[in-house]
């Protein structure tokens, strides 16, 4: 067979080459995606703002009453002030940090939880462990999202991270299902068989051989989760189930509902724009990432 020449050099080391080539081509693809790069740059700017908030470089007076009620936009108050005289610009900046905190915590934990459970159940597909994980996913998915989140938020009463817990416990199933499917594909591959033949333990196989090969899925899921978490925060905070401590765009938007009638939209506009900017940029970034990491996608 003539096609043999292309296969030269390929050996048992399938995962290594596959991985490097996947990440290398992904990086190359991503580097050429203008929208993705712009998105990433904007996200990085937001992250810088968040870091500044965490280190106390700016937005330190977000909780203070620094002006009159509903002061207009001015050099001192870039977005004006709110109903009790707090600076909306500072609150908007401060909320950026909250958004990253919520987005990152939720995205990372969702990916960890979904990745571990999905990989375990995929690797042991057909066993009782798999059955239990699948059952859990089914149960979680069968309860409408807002009901579930509200219930968890209430059940955890005044636990400050109730919202995070609620989001994580509902979001992980999507990642779990993806990873499970991929792992079922992977576990039939030769390198896993080889590792098994060498007597490597199951946990080690999952952690060292299988999970790393699902990294591209995890990364994409993480970006999607990040965006979902930020958007869900807005709605949950509006419903009074959201951020307990500090300030967030969701709180600002719900705060703004107190001001519509009086014709003041500064809070709404500030929070909406800031949030839209981050979410839009992140969506562009996530899209580019997906394109880059999906071997099937051709630009």
């Amino acid at each position: 067979m003539t096609a043999g020449m292309a296969r030269n050099g390929d050996g048992v080391a399938v995962p290594a080459t596959r991985r490097t080539s996947l990440w290398q081509t992904a990086l190359a693809k991503f580097a050429r995606d203008r929208a993705g790069l712009v998105g990433l740059t904007v996200v990085a700017l937001y992250l810088l703002v968040a870091i500044g908030v965490w280190f106390g470089w700016w937005a330190t007076e977000w909780a203070d009453i620094t002006g009159a009620k509903w002061a207009p936009v001015s050099a001192q108050h870039w977005f004006g002030t709110n109903i009790i005289g707090q600076d909306i610009f500072q609150r908007g900046l401060y909320s950026t940090a909250t958004a990253f905190e919520v987005g990152l915590v939720v995205a990372v934990l969702v990916v960890v939880l979904g990745g571990l459970l999905g990989a375990t159940s995929g690797f042991l597909a057909g066993s009782w462990v798999d059955e239990i994980v699948l059952w859990t996913m089914g149960v979680v998915d069968a309860v409408p999202f807002y009901l579930m989140v509200a219930a968890i938020a209430f059940a955890l009463a005044d636990y400050p991270y109730a919202m995070h817990v609620a989001m994580i416990s509902t979001f992980w199933t999507t990642t779990g299902r993806f990873v499970r499917g991929e792992v079922i594909k992977l576990r039939g591959l030769e390198f896993v068989e080889a590792a098994r033949a060498l007597g490597v333990g199951q946990a080690a196989i999952v952690l060292r051989h299988v999970l790393p090969n699902t990294l591209h899925i995890l990364l994409v899921q993480m970006t999607l989760c990040f965006v979902d978490a930020i958007k869900a925060e807005v709605v949950l905070s509006f419903l009074g189930l959201g951020v307990k401590d500090g300030m967030s765009w969701g709180l600002m938007i719900s705060e703004s509902t107190l001001e519509f009638l009086a014709g003041h939209f500064n809070n709404l506009v500030a929070a909406s724009l800031l949030m839209f900017g981050l979410v839009y940029a992140f969506n562009m970034f996530a899209d580019a990432l997906q394109d880059a990491l999906d071997p099937k996608r051709v630009a």
């Binding site: 909780a63 203070d64 109903i83 009790i84 209430f154 005044d158 009074g240 107190l258 009638l261």
Partner: protein, 622 residues
């Protein structure tokens, strides 16, 4: 039940007061639909479309716990007494009762005669579907329902320990076949009520939805669903009810009682602009259909109101005050609004206040007297830091009244001359107090501020935290704790789990006793004394005043008690909102839901669109 009722009085028996029951036959009942002189022929039913900011949970009178439920209940049902439509200050008048009761000299026995010919609304629960006549036994039955736990009643505390034998009846298992000695129907139209001790506010309690008269047939027929399917003898019959709105239709069999404006307390100088003179001599209700929307969001309610063809009467959202009002006192609209709307402004019958919980050794009572003194300084400093005027400006747009103490402006005992020091912000004074008593940023306690969920509540907290920061209280030591439901917050109060309790209180009747009982020692948690404040002198004065009829002596006692609350820095108090109602010009109404409750709704009339109820020559505003 209040422990405070029980402690004071011994059961006293009274001799029966023989009464000649001269029974006046009520005028022809039944079919009449009031055809007032100016009643226009409208296509379709004449409709009044009203709006509330909240939906009542249940329409069962035993659960008529808030003004929203009360509004619906008193229009679907009847009460023995009611508040006069137009009289200010508020005055009672007989409603189902034919006249004022006969009261024994020791103030312990009341004999009340009911009007004849009052009929329940037609409903399938009655034999033949036709509403039968309301009799005295119905009232006895209805009040018993407040003492039957199966109904989950919420108004029993008005009569618990006060009506002879009512508690025993409940502990014996709430058997409706058993009689209550202090609550009897002497004949079909005469009631006798015997009290364990004088209860000056008794007749007020009979003007509450809680005491509205329910026919036992309806309870038998609908059971728990009575809460969504009222069957009463009131001016309107509920035809549809859900969480978004309630729709009433006129009760065609409602008794004919032509309006006597003078008897309703009409003040031509202040009230003529409403056009209520148009209803004189006619029998309510005047509209065929009454719709009340429940919309807890001001914006959509206001939008609906200003659209023109939806809600016709709405409270003015404070946010719109600047745009709509030309002046507050007297209330006057900007010209473009005055062309379209009428307005009325009045103080709420209630107030908002925040008290410290003395159960918490960090703020209240402490085994160490020195620490207790320092705690008082702490409380007084917080009170000085608290900015009522900022609260008023931010949230009530300056439309509220800030007043010292706990006697609210709407009651006759209010003292306008009281010193305002306790509601005046004094940052320097607060800092000095803290410094002089050894309080520093390091040793100040953590203040947990409990609130129900909601962005407004959250902003209250932010405002409070920022104000405390200005007297040197570290912001991280002011912690918000929001409760998902009002029930959970209420539970925290009743279990004495919050160091500071911020709440509002709506008056049940126009008497300062109703707010002073909030500080009566035996009313501590789970009672209404959320501060768990125990002051010997206060308690003694309270017990003394509770059995007194209104008098200057009683007012003096009330005011002394008020001063005690202020002097011990029990809390930040208080603020009474002013409600401003706006309504379309073709609506004839004097809307005031304070105290009057829902009784005003049956007097509302609606003119054809484009017409104005406002009498000629009054000018556009005023």
């Amino acid at each position: 039940m209040q422990p405070w009722h029980r402690r004071l009085f011994f059961l006293r028996s009274i001799g029966g007061v023989s009464l000649a029951c001269a029974v006046a036959l009520a005028g022809g009942c039944g079919s009449g639909v009031a055809e007032g002189p100016g009643r226009p022929t409208l296509p379709g039913p004449k409709t009044f479309h009203h709006s509330f900011e909240q939906a009542p949970a249940s329409l069962d009178p035993v659960q008529a716990t808030n003004i929203y439920a009360n509004h619906v209940v008193v229009n679907a049902y009847d009460t023995l007494f009611a508040y006069k439509y137009l009289a200010r200050p508020y005055q009672l008048k007989p409603n189902l009762a034919e006249d004022w009761p006969e009261i024994s000299p020791d103030l312990l026995t009341y004999r009340i005669r009911l009007k004849r010919g009052v009929r329940f609304q037609d409903d399938p629960c009655f034999p033949g579907g036709r509403g039968r006549e309301l009799v005295a036994e119905d009232f006895v039955y209805s009040l018993k329902r407040q003492f039957d736990p199966q109904n989950r009643p919420q108004g029993g505390w008005f009569w618990q320990g006060r009506i002879v034998g009512i508690d025993a009846w409940k502990s014996a298992g709430s058997d409706y076949a058993q009689d209550i000695p202090g609550l009897r129907a002497l004949d079909s139209h005469t009631l006798e009520i015997r009290l364990t001790r004088p209860y000056p506010q008794l007749l007020d309690t009979f003007a509450q939805g809680y005491s509205a008269v329910v026919p036992h047939e309806a309870v038998a027929c609908y059971g728990r669903e009575l809460g969504t399917h009222p069957v009463g003898s009131g001016p309107f019959k509920v035809v549809a009810y859900d969480t978004a709105r309630v729709v009433f239709e006129r009760h065609p069999g409602y008794r004919q009682e032509p309006v006597d404006l003078a008897a309703e307390g009409y003040d031509p100088v202040k009230q003529r602009y409403t056009g209520v003179e148009r209803i004189a001599g006619r029998s309510p209700p005047f509209v065929d259909r009454l719709i009340i929307d429940f919309a807890n969001d001001d914006a959509s309610r206001w939008n609906s109101f200003t659209k023109g063809d939806e809600v016709q009467l709405s409270a003015l959202p404070p946010e719109r005050a600047e745009a709509v009002l030309a002046s507050l006192n007297p209330v006057r609209l900007q010209p473009e609004y005055a062309e379209k709307y009428q307005a009325y402004s009045g103080p709420e019958a209630g107030f908002v206040f925040e008290v410290f919980n003395f159960d918490f050794p960090d703020f209240g009572y402490h085994p160490d007297p020195a620490r207790e003194r320092r705690n008082k300084a702490l409380r007084c400093a917080i009170i000085k830091a608290f900015d009522w005027e900022a609260r008023n400006a931010s949230w009530y747009f300056g439309l509220a009244t800030v007043f010292p103490g706990v006697i609210v402006p709407v009651v006759p005992e209010f003292d306008p001359a009281l010193s305002r020091a306790s509601v005046t912000r004094d940052v320097d004074g607060a800092r000095r107090l803290l410094r002089d008593n050894g309080w520093t940023a390091a040793n100040l306690p953590v203040l947990v501020y409990g609130q129900s969920a909601g962005v407004k509540q959250r902003m209250f907290y932010e405002q409070f935290r920022a104000e405390l920061k200005q007297i040197g209280w570290p912001p991280e030591k002011v912690v918000l704790k929001q409760f998902a439901t009002f029930g959970d917050l209420s539970r925290a109060w009743k279990e004495s789990r919050l160091p500071i309790v911020a709440k509002g209180w709506g008056l049940d009747y126009p008497d300062a006793e109703n707010t002073l009982q909030l500080f009566y020692g035996p009313n501590g948690s789970p009672g209404s004394n959320d501060a768990n404040w125990h002051n010997v002198e206060f308690d003694r004065l309270y017990e003394q005043a509770a059995v007194m009829l209104p008098s200057p002596e009683r007012t003096a006692l009330y005011r002394r008690m008020n001063q005690l609350v202020i002097d011990d820095c029990v809390g930040m108090t208080g603020l009474a909102r002013n409600r401003i109602y706006l309504w379309h010009r073709n609506v004839v109404a004097m809307p005031d839901r304070e105290i009057v409750g829902g009784f005003w709704l049956k007097y509302v009339d609606v003119l054809p669109p484009g017409q104005s109820a406002r009498p000629e020559g009054l000018g556009a505003t005023g």
